[in-house]
Symmetry: D2
Subunit: 260 residues, 4 copies
């Protein structure tokens, strides 16, 4: 596989992760996963059919082929480390992979992650053998500390979940990427293919997208659009982009022809 993304010794050829919320139906979600080319799909644990109760999306796991996709349970809804750890364990007990996207956001308005509880839960889960992918504010020091306790990635936010504001935390993301020893996955805020491309051009290892695909008029086509932009951004990063310049630089010659 050329240029694979490697997380905890597992290789992925796609660098686009997908969330599964907000789709009009499980069928629409399944189709978008397919065209997007994604190989990592995150699922809120409540939605997973662990209990058999009444959520219309409860059978969501039937629509995600575990042979094809890594199902990444997330702890969305957890208010603190204890709840997050409990959720992760329930998922593993129910047979889901022992991977977890760690999300702890006590704030209901902006859904911003709690750095203290996230580090605490990460330490516990790493020790218990989980592969931990923590969702964090774009905080380079926190990112380092999480790496040090053994998380498999860091997942800094570009902007608040569902805000579609792109890479508003550009300066901090740049530092996180520069200092990271694990893959950096930009999560939250990515509301357009140009945002995804920019994250990849900056050197992010992957991006996670949900809202913009799920609520598009055609999630399938939008999934493919994001996949193309992720590939384009990754290619540009690998090939090297020109620096910004304050002055212009002629692409066409300015003299000659007319002067003859």
């Amino acid at each position: 596989m050329p240029d694979p993304l490697v997380i905890a010794d597992r290789e992925f050829s796609s660098r686009l992760f997908l969330g599964t919320g907000k789709f009009p139906s499980n069928e629409a979600m399944r189709d978008a996963l397919e065209t997007s080319g994604t190989e990592v799909v995150t699922v809120a644990l409540r939605r997973a059919d662990l209990s058999g109760e009444g959520d219309p999306y409860a059978n969501i796991l039937e629509f995600i082929d575990p042979e094809r996709y890594l199902i990444l349970p997330n702890t969305s809804g957890a208010m603190n480390a204890e709840e997050a750890v409990r959720l992760a364990k329930l998922a593993a007990a129910a047979g889901l992979p022992k991977w977890v996207k760690l999300e702890i956001h006590p704030d209901p308005t902006y859904l911003l992650p709690d750095p203290i509880e996230t580090l605490k839960a990460a330490e516990i889960l790493v020790k218990e053998g989980f592969t931990v992918l923590p969702y964090i504010n774009a905080d380079p020091v926190l990112a380092k500390r999480l790496q040090e306790v053994g998380t498999a990635t860091v997942m800094p936010l570009g902007a608040p979940i569902g805000s579609n504001r792109g890479i508003a935390t550009r300066d901090q993301i740049r530092i996180i990427i520069e200092q990271a020893t694990v893959p950096v996955v930009v999560d939250a805020g990515i509301g357009a293919p140009s945002h995804a491309a920019e994250a990849m051009e900056m050197g992010a290892d992957a991006v996670l997208v949900n809202t913009a695909i799920a609520i598009a008029s055609d999630p399938q086509r939008m999934g493919r659009a994001f996949q193309m932009s992720v590939e384009a951004g990754r290619e540009a990063y690998l090939l090297g982009l020109p620096e910004e310049s304050d002055t212009a630089s002629a692409t066409s010659p300015l003299t000659g022809f007319l002067k003859r």
Copy 2:
């Protein structure tokens, strides 16, 4: 052809225009044109082999298949309307298509276009039967006036030529797109796939890229990266992107599972 770009009754399936300056060789340029999927290639007139004189790139036209690409002569190097008109006519006399990318930039530092001379030359060239694509500052009123004299597109700059600063003139480009009755091609400043995608997401009809592809370590692969980002941006525009929001919007449910 689904979703074609139509300029002066000619249909194009690609929305990526390429410039031909700065490539390491004519061969490298030819290969990048091919992978980029472009159908419109702009050539500085001096480079075109109209005179047989000593420019090492003088035989550039031998590397651009006129059956496959629209060769779009540009008037780069013209300081005023008179020079631009003269250049356009020389190109037509030499057998090039009667299309012209009108560029008049008296300023050697920033290569910014002259609005007065550009309008003047556009009027003359339209009357003489040319299909005129004028390069302009991101000036909505000028864009309107050019349309009124009959130009086939308007080509506002995102940022100065070769600056790679992206869509720095975002607000003005948005107004130009909103008011345009001819295709809007964003030209200059596009230094990364994310910039190209953003222009397309805003509703631009096409973009012109040169430097970032020409000077990449592998122009062929970079050409393909830009093509993907242009397609991604166009798709996103057609499908509709979510609005930016000040608050977050949960993609995963916040309640339930844990409470049971």
Copy 3:
């Protein structure tokens, strides 16, 4: 006078120009002019009491002391050069100073200026002995051409009139300032003291503010706030600001004390 602004041989100690539209009353306007310290006040010609007809603001000139302020008639409402020239002459004939803020904006939605008509009117008015201050898009080439025909300043927009978006045209304004041989007055878009300060820090010679002062809950106090920010920005420009840096630079020592 230390650091005076000189326009057409007239010296001003304040670098804040004020517009007179949108105030709750002529009295409120008069008071705001006073606290703002401004010395240049622009008035839409229709409002000036040239005709005696029914506009409730028609007596606006009675509220602006011509000994204290330069009254700068503007041609707002003119759709082309001819109308602008006519308006300027009417104002002069009515006894107003032979200065004119040249505004020609045919577009009613964004009120963006017309580069062609503005240059045409400027040429005529300069020849007829007017001191001409043209309102323009942030177009460096146009700015140069206006200087060449003899305008006393150039007044590029930061963003559309009344949009309060600040210096959205940053890159172009920077080039205009770098190349200008006449004072550069940033006009339109300045909706907060920070915007005014930024324009001055970039090296603009003055700014024009209207909406943000006129519609404030207390125009007098807001006028003073803008005056302070203009002074602060000017001082910073004169004294020199540090460059932006990608890395941090310690202001406090990192070693020593703790190690002893």
Copy 4:
């Protein structure tokens, strides 16, 4: 006192805090403090003359009148909570006020603060009776947690220390301000009066500035420039600024006069 800033029951009339690093001399610093109008001056503990050893700035405290200014010792140089607590106690033991600007930045390149250690130290110091002003990344959840343990302010960064990039963390700062129950002091990154004004316009309670004043060609005058911009921004916040708008809004009437 109108509109005082109140921190831990102490009132301040100035909303500009000053750092004391990088000045050309202690005399220059003293003079800049005076013209800036500041009432809160932060001092790196190593510099304070606690030991009598050889730092040429070691006698810095002799240049800061404790009757006039609150001397705010900072823990710059501390790598973790333990070191920070130790530094704060040493300062108090040496007779400095029992206030502390808590800075813990293990990263020598960007000097970014450590959220975990900062919260830990804050808890300890609050319990021991210190008035704690923690320097933090622009992390709304961390800000909330610090308030909950009893810090007197939160001091989120606009951009890394000494980077002069302004309020790059705009979106997060806005959320912190919205949710704060203690004063928000924007610290780090403020490199120009326009940055200080913007922070205040957003509703920050105060700003801390150091580099831009200390290294100016004339720190005294630059101190005054910042003070003016802080006042201007505060006034604008209190009086209310207009919203940004996508369309223009005429300040001058567009009809009438010409039509008569």
